[in-house]
């Protein structure tokens, strides 16, 4: 068994730690790129959403490197992402690949027993003792939390740094170095050292940078290739960004959701506009938009793949929030046809808009 998984932001760091430490054979697909998207688009239905296509590309690239088992998350929620696993199993079979799929689903939907047996399928390949397996899992969780934390810090510091580009450079270097680590322990040590470095970069506390919240569909906000590296671009413009959704957030949410203690603040903030869970992360998107306004952000950018039902609903609600709170929100829809020129023009114009609003108090009257 050689395990692989679709890319989604920083997940590959945790996967490397987990499978590496467990001693299970695994393949990390090459970082999502044009090649993965083209390959995925070729084999997917045209109207299928962007994440599906990129994932198919990831699988095929991983198979080329010897993978035969895919781990993917599923859900019975009303969003197509929950059905990806079934569709992808069919598609890959039709393409003639003999792939095994292990679907990690919420215990509410498949039962705790089934979930444990699926985990067992993976962990039985490891020769470690039970205690050591759990230790490896904990290290992987530690890694994903650390990477997400470092990334969030770098994105925020980009607005305050004195030496332009420093936080981006440290972030990129950190990610590159982390992949050279031999095991989880050394990766955690390395991440901690980069965290300290990032904490200590020269920052100008008096700077008042533009602050933007990145909201929207979970895959397209987390996987940088799918949103044309919007966060990197914003760093170049000296904008501080914040994104709530991340793999570590997702994990925490998953653990807390059976007891209904997940993301209480987001739910509370969304209540006025969208009190129901309508699938995907639409309610989160609405809650985050309101939260971003309350926390003093200058604006928000919503990103979602073409044809994403939950986000289309939230897109229709956002203008009302924008009007009620006098809070600018830009919506960007991405798919394989997205032209970068128009995309950048809109981002730049949005930053100009926020900048000029800041300078001109009258505009808020």
């Amino acid at each position: 068994m050689k395990i692989t998984f679709p890319h989604m932001g920083n997940i590959y760091f945790a996967a490397k730690t987990l499978f590496g430490d467990l001693g299970i054979d695994y393949v990390i697909p090459p970082i999502s790129s044009k090649a993965s998207l083209e390959l995925g688009s070729l084999h997917s239905a045209e109207e299928m959403c962007l994440p599906f296509k990129i994932m198919i590309g990831n699988y095929i690239h991983a198979i080329e490197k010897g993978a035969d088992t895919v781990i993917i998350t599923g859900s019975c929620g009303p969003c197509r992402l929950g059905e990806y696993c079934e569709l992808q199993m069919n598609l890959m079979k039709r393409l003639g690949y003999n792939l095994d799929f292990i679907v990690i689903d919420s215990p509410n939907d498949i039962g705790a027993k089934e979930l444990l047996s699926r985990f067992g399928k993976i962990s039985s390949k490891s020769t470690l003792s039970k205690t050591n397996k759990i230790a490896a899992l904990l290290r992987a969780i530690k890694v994903i939390n650390l990477v997400d934390e470092i990334e969030a810090m770098a994105r925020n510091k980009a607005g305050y740094e004195v030496n332009k580009g420093e936080s981006k450079k440290i972030l990129n270097e950190c990610k590159k170095e982390a992949m050279n680590c031999s095991d989880g322990k050394s990766m955690i040590a390395l991440l901690n050292s980069y965290k300290t470095r990032l904490e200590n970069i020269e920052a100008d506390k008096n700077k008042n940078p533009i602050k933007i919240a990145i909201i929207g569909e979970i895959y397209t906000v987390i996987e940088p290739f799918s949103n044309l590296y919007i966060e990197d671009k914003l760093m170049d413009y000296g904008v501080s960004t914040h994104r709530t959704l991340s793999p570590s957030w997702w994990l925490k949410n998953l653990v807390l959701s059976p007891i209904n203690l997940n993301q209480l603040d987001i739910k509370r903030k969304a209540k006025e506009y969208l009190p129901l869970m309508i699938g995907g992360h639409a309610r989160e998107c609405i809650g985050e938009a309101v939260l971003a306004h309350d926390e003093g952000f200058d604006g928000a950018i919503q990103i979602f793949p073409m044809g994403c039902m939950p986000e289309i609903v939230s897109k229709a609600i956002l203008p009302q929030i924008s009007k009620d709170k006098d809070f600018p929100i830009l919506t960007l829809v991405v798919d394989e046809m997205t032209g970068e020129a128009g995309y950048i023009t809109r981002i730049e114009a949005f930053i100009d808009l926020l900048e000029r609003r800041k300078d001109n108090v009258l505009s808020r009257c």
Binding site: T345, E348, A349, N360, L362
Partner: protein
């Protein structure tokens, strides 16, 4: 001292020179024809004998070719079209509330309040209703594009054209021609269809308040102006330099920026004689596989675009 603005768009490349009083003293409207470098050189050739390098106090670029133009010319400001258009319109009239801008392949709406941009939108999926589509229809009907609007104004009635998609609009026009409607009525119908398309797509959900400015190349078409006025029930103003607004905005922004910096980055008019070549390749450095474009001036590399990591030097001038 003069301030140069360059707007490299999909259809046209516009150059303007402003004087100290921010008046347009020189304007050039050139066809880009897919060769932005050649178009800029052509413009510079026309300016070279008339002005000295030292007379240029600031240069700004905008339009879809703003980065390449900036590399070539040495720009003080590189701004997106939306901001550039808004700045130019505000300079003309500070009371403007809505800007309808239709260019070669983009159509935009910009909403302003108290002299600052508060909202904007841009066409994303379809170019129906933009300049290149009108260009093509004029060509097909064998009417010069300059006269297109007059045909619409003279028409007594109009024919309803399906304007949601450029291809279907064309089929519908052919169908209506074959049924025997006259050209004027069809053209008027087309203008109305394009306005409908604009208001339903680009301007959807936006409040359109007076004063309304209509700018970009398509504003030359008086048929479009009157179709907008009919649909909105409000008067629409076309600024004097409607097809140069992007370039004017870029020049104004550059003026402010260069004054703050105390110097200009302008490389001089000599680039008109240089030999430029561009080469593109896929970087093999990592699995990102960026498509990098390298621009050379007389064999020397002056700039690279398209790489994400900065390995080939994508210095960002904002």
């Amino acid at each position: 001292m003069y301030y140069l603005g360059v707007d490299v768009g999909s259809v046209s490349t516009d150059l303007v020179l402003l004087n100290e009083r921010k008046e347009v003293i020189e304007k050039l409207y050139l066809r880009t024809k897919g060769k932005p470098i050649a178009a800029i050189q052509e413009g510079f050739k026309a300016l070279k004998g008339k002005y000295e390098n030292v007379e240029i106090a600031a240069v700004g670029t905008t339009g879809s070719g703003r980065q390449i133009a900036s590399t070539l010319i040495g720009a003080d400001a590189v701004k997106n079209e939306i901001t550039a258009h808004a700045v130019a319109a505000l300079e003309t009239d500070n009371d403007v509330r809505t800007i309808i801008e239709i260019g070669g392949q983009d159509s935009k709406i910009i909403v302003l309040k108290n002299g600052i941009v508060t909202d904007f939108a841009m066409n994303t999926v379809c170019a129906a209703g933009t300049g290149s589509f009108l260009d093509r229809q004029a060509e097909r009907l064998e009417i010069p594009i300059e006269a297109f609007g007059d045909y619409a104004l003279e028409a007594k009635g109009s024919v309803r054209i399906a304007g949601r998609c450029a291809v279907f609009a064309e089929s519908d026009m052919i169908h209506k021609q074959q049924m025997g409607y006259n050209e004027g009525e069809i053209i008027k119908g087309l203008c109305e269809a394009l306005v409908r398309n604009y208001l339903n797509n680009v301007a959807k959900g936006k409040e359109i308040q007076s004063k309304i400015f209509f700018q970009g190349g398509v504003a030359a078409n008086l048929g479009m102006k009157s179709a907008f006025e009919d649909a909105l029930g409000k008067s629409v103003f076309i600024p004097e330099h409607y097809n140069m607004m992007g370039a004017i905005g870029a020049a104004l922004i550059a003026k402010a920026k260069a004054e703050k910096a105390g110097k200009t980055m302008f490389k001089g008019f000599d680039l008109a004689e240089s030999i430029f070549s561009s080469k593109s390749f896929e970087c093999q450095g990592c699995s990102n596989g960026c498509e990098v474009v390298k621009i050379q001036e007389n064999e020397a590399v002056i700039g690279c675009f398209g790489d994400r990591c900065g390995k080939w030097g994508s210095e960002l001038a904002v």
